[in-house]
């Protein structure tokens, strides 16, 4: 018997593995790729990129909570031009499809960043971050309303020749409705979820712990909610869904795939276990062999089919 296949087609991209990196948790890959096996990954989703360089939020930026972390990085990044000139050539050497996470303050800024990225080679797709909870104009406002979410999507589509993945915010009443609006606006794929807006208070200082007061909650704590959203959205739309939120094992990855995710992304878990992508890949393969699945596609959405 030939070994089962983990290949997927994601909005036209042929990926060798359904395991992606969560934007912002893997930097530009330059820290982790030297120590892990790039073959375990299907694509690299890099840190949120904006037009101008951004300094990010004041520290502290990270706070641990039960089974989760709050982060308030605040989209620190060197801006799209430095990204193209300095970072992109370095990542290119790893021969992985690169998906650039794009953020902006205005509709125009999203389009502007993408226009710039269009000129650069070696980018597979864009992921629109309309869901960053950590900067006032960091996107979350765009992601919590169907109309604006659709507007950003259209603005991006109108300038992009590469696929547009829209990353949804979980801080909404009806994520399926927003997913549908974004699909109608032309999105090629969806990714969900970004972090949940949360906070912690330092009871000695009697002030919020984070420099930015609020931050985004990620990690295993949010997994049950993220999974529910993937379940709802993947049944509502026809475009593929990239599922994420607290995935730290092959079992958790499989839950998301069975709930309807075509691909999954690992974020916070890399911090604790840089080998997690390999463990997930091997776990999925063993499961498929044991249960006689030949292609990972057969498992996508199997829990509601």
């Amino acid at each position: 018997m030939t070994s089962p296949s983990l290949k997927i087609n994601l909005a036209g991209l042929e990926l060798e593995s359904p395991i992606l990196t969560g934007s912002g948790t893997f930097g530009y890959g330059l820290e982790y790729l030297p120590i892990i096996d790039a073959d375990d990954l299907g694509a690299l989703v890099v840190t949120g990129t904006t037009w101008e360089p951004r300094p990010g939020n004041p520290p502290p930026r990270i706070w641990e909570t039960p089974s989760g972390i709050l982060n308030a990085i605040g989209l620190e990044n060197p801006g799209v031009n430095v990204f193209i000139q300095k970072k992109l050539p370095q990542i290119a050497s790893y021969d992985l499809p690169i998906i650039v996470n794009v953020a902006g303050n205005t509709l125009d800024e999203y389009a502007q960043v993408i226009r710039e990225l269009e000129k650069a080679p070696g980018i597979a797709a864009y992921e629109l971050n309309i869901s960053c909870p950590n900067v006032r104009q960091g996107g979350m406002a765009f992601g919590t309303d169907g109309h604006t979410a659709a507007a950003v999507t259209m603005a991006a589509k109108s300038v992009a020749t590469r696929p547009i993945i829209v990353k949804l915010s979980p801080n909404v009443t009806d994520i399926a409705a927003i997913a549908l609006a974004v699909e109608e606006a032309g999105a090629d794929a969806l990714s969900l979820v970004n972090t949940f807006l949360g906070m912690a208070i330092d009871i000695d200082k009697r002030r919020p712990v984070l420099g930015n007061q609020m931050g985004g909650l990620s990690g295993p704590a949010i997994r049950p909610i993220a999974l529910r959203m993937v379940w709802q959205v993947s049944q509502a739309v026809t475009i593929p869904v990239i599922g994420m939120g607290g995935i730290d094992s092959w079992q958790a990855a499989l839950e998301f795939i069975m709930a309807g995710a075509t691909a999954i992304a690992v974020g916070t878990a890399f911090f604790i276990n840089p080998y997690v992508a390999k463990e997930i890949r091997q776990g999925l393969l063993s499961y498929m062999e044991r249960e006689h699945f030949t292609s990972i596609d057969q498992l996508v959405g199997i829990a509601w089919q």
Partner: protein, 267 residues
């Protein structure tokens, strides 16, 4: 950088609330440098609270014995979990990480004095530095402060490697009665001759020592702490304010050791 499950040689409480952890990790022992640190996983068996690894500086590393060690204070749930490690169990450790202390270039034949200044558990990373410096021919002068005797960590290796070792406690329960700055002022002539001063301790103490060093005209290096998620430079979570770059600087990668004058301490 290495990630491995290292065998625990021992993990013992050396003083109430302070533990000494020795791991068998030949690969890490060979490359670790003073001032660098490792990230230790505190949750096992797929549990996820505490979630993040915890950073601990190398207290020592011996490539001969294939051994690395850590000196840590039990603060919260992560270090509490670490304190449950038992001999022959395993510890999931990732390192060495960060940029450590830099020893000064010295003219051949000269026995350059350096100052080692530690407060509380801030002594931990300085032990490795002291023995390395001593072995490379520097003269090590050590100044240790603490709130009181119960948190004064006079490490035997430090004692062995130092030509001078002075201690102070704020409550006078051991050594000189006063804080670290007043101890240093008291020994000003000894300190002022030193090549860099190497400082580690609570932020307020480090800020005060940095001022004093500036005043005395000697360079100094400080080891900063920050809450860390990844420890390798990927998450941008651990940044601190420095004069070095336009933006924030990552403590885990550009640091944890910085030149005293480039750090912007918040007060």
């Amino acid at each position: 950088m290495i990630i491995e499950k290292a065998r625990v040689i021992s993990n013992s409480e050396i003083k109430l609330g302070y533990y000494f952890l020795r791991l068998f990790s030949p690969k890490m022992a060979e490359v670790a440098e003073p001032g660098q640190f490792a990230m230790l996983r505190c949750s096992y068996n797929n549990t996820s609270d505490p979630l993040l690894r915890r950073p601990l500086s190398f207290h020592d590393a011996s490539w001969k014995k294939g051994e690395i060690s850590f000196l840590y204070q039990v603060k919260g749930k992560g270090t509490k979990e670490l304190s449950r490690l038992v001999a022959n169990g395993s510890a999931d450790v990732m390192g060495p990480l960060g940029t450590g202390f830099r020893l000064p270039k010295v003219s051949p034949g000269k026995r350059q004095p350096i100052a080692i200044i530690g407060c509380g558990v801030g002594v931990a990373p300085l032990v490795f530095l002291a023995s390395t410096a001593h072995n490379r021919g520097y003269e090590v002068r050590t100044f240790i402060g603490a709130r009181s005797e119960s948190s004064l960590l006079v490490d035997p290796i430090l004692v062995a490697k130092s030509s001078v070792l002075s201690t102070a406690t704020e409550d006078g329960s051991a050594g000189y009665h006063g804080n670290i700055v007043s101890l240093l002022r008291n020994k000003e002539s000894l300190v002022a001759e030193c090549g860099p001063a190497y400082v580690c301790g609570p932020e307020a103490a480090m800020a005060a020592v940095v001022s004093l060093c500036t005043e005395l005209g000697i360079p100094c290096q400080v080891s900063l702490e920050s809450i860390m998620a990844c420890g390798v430079g990927a998450c941008l979570g651990c940044t601190c304010n420095t004069t070095r770059s336009p933006n924030y600087t990552r403590v885990c990668t550009e640091g944890p050791v910085f030149d005293g004058e480039e750090v912007v301490f918040c007060d």
